[in-house]
Symmetry: D2
Subunit: 342 residues, 4 copies
């Protein structure tokens, strides 16, 4: 970390600050005195240096991090890719394209079983479905809750597909005991109490990027989970909020290679929530594959026009067949190109 001091800082103030930094954070401080400005350089593990504390010091003009503020998620300290493996053998992050598909909301046994069979047949290796639904309006359908979880488990039994579903409160962690991957939604990406509690579990966590989170904040939320002892985090890009209204959110595909460079965690992309429009899902799925994503999360509904939530962005099973076939085919071509052209 580099600290630029104000021009008016006296030598005495500087010495006091250096002593405080060295004592507080166990770092070594180097001083570079220039004409007009003095700069301090902190050496050692600066992950725990509190930027707010430093910025608040009277003689501090500004600071600049050189090291990333995360450790456990950092590729520098963990060069190999993290591969999440499930008891059934499904893997995320091992170089194969992994597709999670299913309805936004679980609505009935018939629906979820039908969709599960269809997405499995198309090549999906995980069934996604919402039992607890975060809705902007208290008057909208909020999900089937525990009944929805039971239906998901039933569909898992029918198809063998592990299930991914969203948690909305740390109070539900026990209830989610037999869920295979617990999803943290965009609105809860900085629900730190929830992240902390999930860090104590041994479940893989699918962490969606917040509506307006920076990539660094998103990784810091992964770090929260990992700091608690749970290293199995999957990051999911789902679009960010911008001024553009043609799509629900703006899908930030650059985030994929950036996150893969900065961390060792798998990254998947959700084109359904990102765009909010079913007709864009195919094209954006292909773009995500070419951006290097480890997987896709896609909404599929047997009957989108009767879906109780987010119908506008769901594919029919027939449409999904096509998207999955194209995505797998493109991934294969992409891998061959990567091998051929070095």
């Amino acid at each position: 970390m580099i600290i630029v001091l104000k021009p008016e800082a006296t030598k005495e103030q500087r010495i006091l600050l250096i002593a405080a930094l060295e004592e507080k954070y166990n770092v070594t401080v180097n001083t570079w005195v220039g004409v007009g400005s003095t700069v301090l350089g902190l050496i050692g593990d600066t992950t725990q240096v509190d930027e707010d504390w430093v910025s608040a010091q009277e003689i501090v003009d500004s600071i600049k991090r050189v090291q990333e503020p995360y450790k456990k998620a950092n590729r520098k300290f963990h060069p190999g890719n993290t591969v999440i493996e499930l008891p059934g053998g499904q893997r995320i992050g091992d170089g194969e394209l992994c597709i999670m598909a299913g309805p936004c909301s679980v609505e009935s046994e018939e629906q979820i079983n039908y969709v599960a069979k269809r997405v499995k047949a198309a090549g999906a290796s995980f069934l996604r479905g919402g039992a607890f639904k975060p809705r902007t309006s208290p008057y909208s359908f909020q999900g089937l809750k525990d009944e929805g979880l039971d239906l998901l488990k039933g569909a898992r039994k029918e198809t063998g597909l592990p299930i991914v579903t969203e948690i909305m409160s740390a109070a539900h962690i026990e209830m989610f005991g037999s869920v295979d991957i617990i999803q943290v939604g965009a609105r809860n990406m900085q629900n730190f109490e929830l992240l902390r509690q999930l860090g104590k579990t041994d479940k893989p966590i699918l962490l969606k990027r917040g509506l307006s989170s920076t990539i660094e904040e998103w990784i810091m939320s992964a770090e929260y989970i990992m700091a608690g002892g749970n290293d199995r985090v999957i990051l999911c890009e789902r679009g960010i909020r911008t001024y553009e209204t043609a799509t629900r959110n703006t899908l930030d595909l650059s985030a994929v290679p950036i996150v893969k460079k900065l961390t060792h965690l798998p990254v998947i992309v959700d084109p359904s929530h990102a765009t909010g429009k079913s007709w864009l899902v195919e094209q954006m799925s292909l773009a995500a594959v070419a951006a290097g994503a480890d997987g896709l999360m896609i909404e599929v509904h047997n009957d989108p026009k009767h879906a109780l939530s987010d119908g506008a962005q769901s594919l029919t099973p027939d449409q999904f067949d096509r998207v999955a076939a194209k995505a797998f085919a493109l991934k294969k071509a992409y891998d061959e190109i990567e091998k051929k052209i070095l």
Copy 2:
């Protein structure tokens, strides 16, 4: 609600959609057939009409709400201002300027008592202070937690100032039993489980605007609390996330008159978090008063350079004296001008 149908919609499809709408949502539907497009108009209470469901219908091109999607917070159905009154007689939203002040984090008995006395002397009518702190990094100071709550209660006993502090989990509601106003932070504005649980309490809730929430989403979060039976919600504008980096967030003062027009709830402004810079707090406090805010929430620390969090945006008690004096004086002038010039 107005529904624009796609040009290719057949008469049969239209009739089926109308029947579904009338049955599902207990509304009456009028049809206007134009050249090239057909429009449906829904009459009745459309608050509960699920936009997602409607948008997903095959023949629907787009929709437009005419009524707001909230009822309990809506000024149309509750023309008078809601005034929040506390047992000690403090009032928010009654036309007087209400100032809540105190440190970002409670750090020690000495600190909180000293700051409480100073802000009371300067005219603040509430003491704010964080016991549970949402921090981007798991390695940053997370607050004194229950010990911090106890220190706040001690300072209340010393000064008579009611206390405002942030809750981070529904699991803590009982622990917050003797807090006077429970604050929901920006990162939890759409933690719907928390909002729902707070709706069952009888505590005034200070609801901060989310980092990138629209005004409508913010009001919908108030509606969540109110739908549960708790009408005492105070809205707090604290800046929104934009591309500008000169301030931590962009303070959206237009939100003040807009929220006051759309709802009957009191609105306060937090210039400390919005700007992230203590030197901007004075000017933005005055601007907030002139924008019509019911109150201000200001960070004050006895010793900002030693603050354990957010020091860069805290005022010293002496600086706060000046800001409070100016804000009250400007409010007085503003009220006189409002009376004189009609």
Copy 3:
């Protein structure tokens, strides 16, 4: 266009408004009187209806466009793809991947000729290079200007590659007479005087999306050029401004399929300016191809570390060889997949 009237609008006011609309814009107006609100529907060509004028009418609550506000760029009225063809036979928008490459700034004869040969050898069909450079600081290098144009023409002579270069003022149009494609930069996307003058030329215009333009505004700027009689517009997505700081801009690849649906114009993608980082160019080029882009615009410099502008985002010729090879290979695979999977 649908116009929602305020509840308090009287019948007399409504009749006056309808008469004004019919006279002013030569449209037919249908009225739908509902309980609590009245809606007007405009039939006919509403492209020229001035939303500002309508919104300002006292009894108007809000409006909703049903038709797009552009005609010449609209795919509805021109279903086939526009293919831009140059005298040398180069084509943009014909289904093949078209790559435009070259340095941000033209710096010397040696530089531009060397880069031109290298990008041609790698498969680029156009040479891009800046002679007039828009720079945030008046103290930065502003381009070689007319001398730069001459060097570009020299490189064209050497290689046969048509040249693409940015214009910064309508006063330069004559000077750009022998440029093959004139580029309008992001900062000038709403320089309407420039657009108008370019509409009178017969040059293909490459129109970059503005830093924070909506897709609709971008298409409207194309419409400006086309309204003047010049139909040969190529749209170029180059990232939009968001709060994220990990990249210079956020590349909005969803814009590609959206623009291709709404208009008949070719769309290319500039991953160099979008990301601002050379190491992201390869991955984002591949993603752009998979998103359906007609072409790529890529910065290549013989010696990025000595580039006079935008060096951080330039590829070396060797790096470009690899990116181009991969992009063409992926496009081939993509086309085969599109043919096979319907």
Copy 4:
């Protein structure tokens, strides 16, 4: 400027870079070698150091400016406030509140003369009105152009109010010869050719902030004008583009004190364009005064519902009477408070 080198940078590379920096930019370079990273500090005038060039150097990890990149606009080198004075004695930036008012578009002699008289009577000291109008659609009213300029001059003759009007092309500078203040609109804030040409004139320039410009970019555009020799620049905050749709733009009032700290130029606020809604103009005008603005720019139309552009945000002369009276009264109170409370 501080330059952080990559850990892998060799001593030889570092020495070469330092030599290049010293030669190229006439600066002195200090080196601070830490464990794991090396930092260079540039001493001297770094205004002309090209960040792009530095960033592109192979061994450079990142850079941090310590000095601002502007000189002529910088308050550090010009501590006193710039006051713009017109031949008629009107002053901007002298501590008094200056109001510029008038219609968005000049429409007729009768209109502009009537509005001019009314705004003068209410205390405005400048008449604003558009003759050349930047419109998103080529099919919208584009202004009366040179005829509009003549009408403005006529109104100036009638009332003595100096006129402020927008220029859209450097080709029009001669035609704007008798305009008192030339306005550069938000869409042309980075039309560098226009800025450069305006820098050669002796006219005061009112420079609106771009739709999504940072404060620094805005000041750099002022620097363009000043670098050409024209020091008389007035900055005008008019709202920035965000995701919020309740207002046309988000008025960024924090920009007022920030710009006043960083530069010595006057800053005014345009609440009409910022909010896009006439009912918000009064409240936001008062907030702007309390934020420390030197002036206001307000749209007034004799008959907003017949305005040919931007009617929704215009005030009637009667409404303007009230806004102006309140704004002047609040400014008086504000100044008294500033004097009393130090």
